[in-house]
Symmetry: C2
Subunit: 152 residues, 2 copies
DNA sequence: GTGCGTGCAAAATCTTTGCATACGC
DNA sequence: GCGTATGCAAAGATTTTGCACGCAC
């Protein structure tokens, strides 16, 4: 998906609700596209990156844009670390996936699993819920931190 | 598991590391036992409940105790809602389970799934991680909120 | 031109921490 | 008695909001 395709669909998605395509919103989404799938940024990260790339957006607007982009399905909101949220690009090249997180050093790996998605679907259906998305978070110790742990 | 069993194992777990069994820590853990499995409390909830039950613990100590109890495996820390963490009792009667959350009203249902646990185990093993726990979070719309949604 | 969006600074949350005192062991 | 734990208040971190101005449509 090129920048323009995304820009078009962003504009369409926004106009549907009387919202506007602003340079700030474009910059936030483009940052995620430049940086690629599978990268997890905090609001502060996004703000810093935009400052560095000379296309500053105020932190308040970053928060507002992130929320909007999640609402519209352009980003996924993650709760990987203990403090604060992280966001990643939602796109078709990189479909529903899950996270394996080292609780000690924060190293994060991604993986896919059809059986997990199926379990989420089944649970939603059983209770009459309409599925939006499901994500598995696996807390673990990475190989390096297992070594360190054994010195304790 | 009775209150006393838990108190004993809490004391053992703490003494192992030179930590102490204090009335405050007991009160926090007992609150979760009284209230039962599958209930998700925030730090503020815990504080309020303890104030109500005439066994006040300062909010700072509640935070410190929750962290300790999670570290020792007596509680699970959850990130269900958008703001703040929630905690639930970890016990054998109510083993590893997952959450189905209505993104609109916050209604939360629990379910179990062996295939999800198996997928978590497999992912950890593939990358040499040592599994701690895995939990699936399914975001969805509950039946009631689906109705409301269609009025929009 | 209308009214949504932005930037700024202030406020609201949520959580941690420094320090003197209290108390488990 | 030693050293950990608590309570308090202050500080930190993260996120939201009120308001005047600017700009997308």
């Amino acid at each position: 998906m090129s920048f323009h395709d995304t820009e078009d669909s962003l504009q369409i998605g926004l106009h549907k609700d009387g919202r506007r395509l602003t340079p700030q919103r474009k910059r936030v989404l483009e940052l995620f596209e430049r940086i690629g799938s599978g990268v997890h940024l905090s609001a502060e990260d996004v703000h810093q990156q935009l400052v560095i790339s000379q296309s500053k957006v105020s932190l308040a607007t970053v928060y507002r844009s992130l929320r909007l982009l999640v609402e519209k399905g352009f980003l996924h909101q993650l709760e990987l670390s203990e403090g604060g949220h992280r966001f990643e690009l939602a796109n078709d090249d990189h479909p529903d996936h899950h996270h394996l997180i080292c609780v000690r050093c924060g190293r994060t790996e991604e993986f896919e699993s059809e059986s997990v998605l199926e379990a989420g679907r089944a649970a939603a259906e059983n209770l009459g819920f309409q599925l939006i998305e499901s994500s598995l978070k696996v807390r673990a110790l990475c190989p390096k931190c297992q070594e360190k742990q054994s010195f304790t």
